[in-house]
């Protein structure tokens, strides 16, 4: 027996970053909004307080803040010819759970994409000719331009209190910033964090090879700050517990710190936790959603009618929800037709370790999630791809995120895996190893996609999402190219320090076992037409004008940057369209 509740204006599925932003923007316009969150409520005080939050075993290793795979996981295979099997324990990526979502346990590395990213297909073909895009890559334009998003990037950075140094102010290249960033209308709201030893060593070496280093834009606050919503943030104290942990200091931008204080308690907003949405109710003939059905904390099925449904769940959960709800046409890799589940992309990660003499101290525990320096000389379209045989790129960064020793105890590759020699090596290298991250783009391929698994089910009995993915040849070439550059910088760092340099190259098939990133993107992509995409440029479903989808699932490909800055900018862009246009006259905002 399904309980039917009174209708509301807007129902949000998921209360992480995008849910919080949409709830704030739409309640400000007077709309009645219900936010459904499948996890528990939680707040900075008392839930994130240290020292108990600083428990590496509980939170980093046992994934205390993550979605429990026993509740829901995905199945995985590299290729269609294989049988997908469930990801039985979390590994390669760590989807968040509970109020605030992954916005609680992220590092805070906050980037903008390049201008070319939003028009990638047109740009590449114009610059290099059609042949530049390898057979099988399904690169497309996003339907929105950087210039349109810029004010929303700016606003999201101000909501988060990002610390950084502009490299391109309205077209003027600024010293000390990233000369390859897209033009920004304003400086960052806060200055960068102080730079640790690893970043300083990297900065000097990168400059020596002719690259252009700068401090990474950080959502770890560099000073006290009040954001445009009136929320107060406090300075980061570099405790070294960001990624996989909540911040006890109100110092890492999160929904809890930057949005919820201005949202909770508003009469227009209601938060319901422990509510797992199982489907969007869809009227196929009217091409409209009527609301959502969810299972509440007591196991009861509830129908929440709503004029507008906005999916704000973690990336691949949005794709699964559309598939479970029968909205849009599922992607078929055989024909290339259909769009739901298409262009699932990831992040092509590699790295370089520089093992230095014992006199060089990195003090890795003096860290913060986005503390460090980077270069974008070989990211996106910052460099000429002519003759290289690939498109895309990545940034190279020296981060000092923390020295939590269960997971951070780097040793050279020829060290035994256990025993006395291992122990000696752990002691020797813990404080004098510098790691360079190669954070590469992920281009969509026709064989990489999401659909529903025919066999495995979640704890509520619904089909799991099935992920079919391997790194395309394009991305492997790209990763090798950028890793070469990182290795060269590593050698410059190592030379005067008796150091040795080891690259972790992108080799073998994609595996769900080792952690890489939680940048799962695509699957409900935005685009210019309903044949190639699920959403129009306002993140509105082509097949149901009162369904919008937020988050990284809307990315048509994944550029070589962390996604959250763009996730926030797109959410604010869509929120403005919904609030200023759609709610006044509900209709498809783009004619198909």
């Amino acid at each position: 027996m399904t309980t039917r509740l009174p209708e509301v204006d807007v129902v949000l599925v998921g209360m992480g970053w995008t849910g919080a932003l949409l709830a704030k923007e739409l309640t400000d316009a007077g709309h009645r909004v219900v936010g459904l969150e499948r996890g528990h409520p939680r707040q900075t005080v008392p839930d994130f307080q240290s020292p108990t939050m600083h428990d590496e075993l509980r939170y980093a290793v046992r994934h205390g803040l993550m979605l429990d795979p026993a509740t829901e996981t995905v199945t995985f295979r590299n290729y269609q010819a294989e049988v997908a099997l469930p990801v039985r324990q979390l590994g390669s990526f760590l989807p968040g759970n509970h109020l605030g979502g992954a916005g609680v346990h992220w590092n805070g590395q906050t980037w903008r994409f390049q201008e070319s990213d939003f028009v990638l297909k047109s740009h590449l073909e114009q610059r290099y000719g059609r042949g530049i895009i390898q057979e099988g890559l399904t690169i497309q334009d996003w339907g929105v331009t950087y210039a349109e998003l810029e004010p929303h990037y700016d606003r999201f950075e101000k909501i988060c209190g990002i610390g950084g140094k502009a490299g391109n102010l309205r077209g003027q290249i600024q010293p000390g910033g990233d000369p390859f960033e897209a033009p920004r209308s304003d400086e960052f709201p806060n200055p960068p964090m102080p730079q640790p030893n690893a970043a300083a060593l990297f900065t000097r070496a990168a400059a020596e090879v002719g690259a252009h280093p700068f401090p990474v834009p950080t959502a770890n606050l560099s000073r006290p700050y009040r954001n445009p919503y009136g929320c107060e943030m406090q300075p980061c104290n570099a405790c070294g517990f960001c990624e996989r942990f909540g911040c006890e200091h109100f110092a890492k931008a999160s929904p809890q710190v930057c949005v919820l204080p201005a949202l909770m308690g508003k009469p227009e907003f209601e938060l319901r936790t422990l509510c797992t949405v199982t489907r969007v109710e869809y009227d196929r003939t009217a091409k409209r959603a009527t609301g959502v059905t969810y299972i509440d904390g007591m196991g009861r099925e509830v129908f929440q009618p709503a004029g507008l449904v906005i999916l704000c769940a973690f990336a691949y959960h949005n794709a699964r929800l559309l598939l479970l709800s029968g909205i849009g046409q599922p992607y078929d890799p055989a024909t290339g037709e259909g769009s739901v589940g298409k262009n699932y992309t990831y992040q092509t990660m590699a790295g370089v370790s520089v093992f230095m003499d014992e006199g060089t101290r990195i003090n890795p525990y003096m860290g913060a999630g986005a503390l460090g320096a980077a270069i974008n000389d070989w990211n996106g379209e910052a460099f000429d791809h002519g003759g290289l045989g690939f498109v895309g790129g990545g940034y190279i960064a020296a981060y000092t995120t923390g020295g939590r020793p269960i997971e951070h105890h780097p040793v050279p590759g020829d060290t035994p895996r256990w025993g006395s020699a291992w122990k000696q090596a752990v002691k020797r290298h813990y404080n004098s190893t510098l790691s360079l991250s190669v954070h590469g783009s992920s281009m969509p391929h026709r064989g990489n996609y999401l659909d529903l698994d025919p066999t495995y089910r979640d704890s509520l009995g619904n089909p799991l999402l099935r992920m079919t993915f391997d790194f395309p040849a394009n991305d492997r070439l790209m990763a090798d190219f950028v890793t070469d550059k990182a290795e060269e910088i590593g050698r410059v760092i190592a030379a005067p320090r008796n150091g040795r340099v080891e690259a972790s190259r992108r080799r073998g098939r994609y595996s769900v076992v080792p952690y890489q990133t939680t940048h799962n993107t695509g699957g409900t992509i935005m685009g210019t037409n309903p044949r190639d995409s699920v959403l129009n440029r306002y993140l509105q479903c082509w097949d149901a004008h009162n369904v919008f989808v937020m988050g990284a699932s809307t990315f048509a490909h994944n550029p070589g940057y962390n996604p959250t800055g763009t996730v926030g900018a797109l959410a604010l862009w869509a929120a403005r369209a919904i609030r200023d246009d759609y709610m006044r006259d509900p209709r498809p905002l783009v004619q198909a």
Binding site: R88, I406, N431, R457
Partner: protein, 246 residues
């Protein structure tokens, strides 16, 4: 994001650890560096998961994975066996955060762990196999072998050369290794890393942390004695004052 560790094996990892033989007393009962009160002797551990023999065997194995050396104590002194015992008796052991629905079938390495074992059932199945295989091939209990032979046995588990009927020996080895490292480096509240032996080895100062003013002081020599989550009690911070009850 972290640099991926592409070498890490796709097995049942992320777990607890177990087994210190009661006879082994932390070798470094000598007074602590720096005027800190000597650590109170650990309360006697009641094995919750391991039998006495299993505890002795697993403890001996862990001590080979992270051995004591002249400079610093090893896994047993650090309480790693007790840590794993507690982990296996608790929610980790029973397979929390593990998707356990069938059908179970063999997958590729890239698809990760695909067996029905929880950590506890894995140890339960593998420990007798480990004991039996060692006795059969080496004529004695693992804990009674000399260190060279213990290492040889462990290498045969690691490579899968030791074939157990009940569970893959390499899976057991990888789980044991991961659990041992966890027990050596996790906060002492979990029962391992006793006296913060693991943290002192590398110089990790622990969960009481905040360094923003020091970040810019490059190459700083920072060797503050670590402090664990529960150190307030260990350091005897308390109210000594009478209160006026109104």
């Amino acid at each position: 994001m972290s640099t991926p560790d592409l070498s890490r094996r796709g097995l049942l990892i992320a777990g607890g650890t177990a087994a210190a033989t009661p006879v082994v007393v932390p070798a470094q009962a000598q007074p602590h560096a720096h005027g800190q009160a000597p650590a109170a002797p650990p309360a006697p551990h009641v094995w919750e998961f391991f039998t006495g023999d299993e505890a002795a065997m697993v403890s001996a194995a862990m001590e080979r994975l992270i051995p004591a050396d002249p400079e610093s104590p090893g896994a047993i002194a650090a309480g790693v066996p007790e840590f794993i015992d507690r982990q296996l008796a608790g929610s980790y052991g029973t397979g929390s955060r593990l998707y356990r629905q069938g059908p179970f079938r063999e997958g590729t390495a890239e698809q990760g762990y695909q067996l029905p074992f929880t950590p506890a059932t894995l140890y339960r199945a593998a420990l007798p196999a480990f004991a039996g295989w060692t006795r059969q091939n080496y004529g004695r209990a693992f804990q009674d072998l000399d260190q060279r032979l213990q290492d040889e046995v462990l290498r045969k588990l690691e490579t899968g050369e030791a074939v157990f009927e009940a569970a893959p020996s390499s899976l057991f080895f990888e789980t044991l290794l991961a659990n041992t490292i966890e027990g050596f480096f996790s906060d002492p509240i979990h029962g391992g890393n006793r006296d913060m032996i693991g943290w002192k080895l590398v110089g990790f100062p622990g969960p009481y942390a905040g360094y923003v003013e020091l970040v810019g002081r490059h190459n700083l020599r920072f060797d503050r004695t670590p402090r664990g989550i529960a150190q307030a009690m260990a350091e005897h911070a308390h109210h000594a004052a009478p209160m006026n009850h109104r």
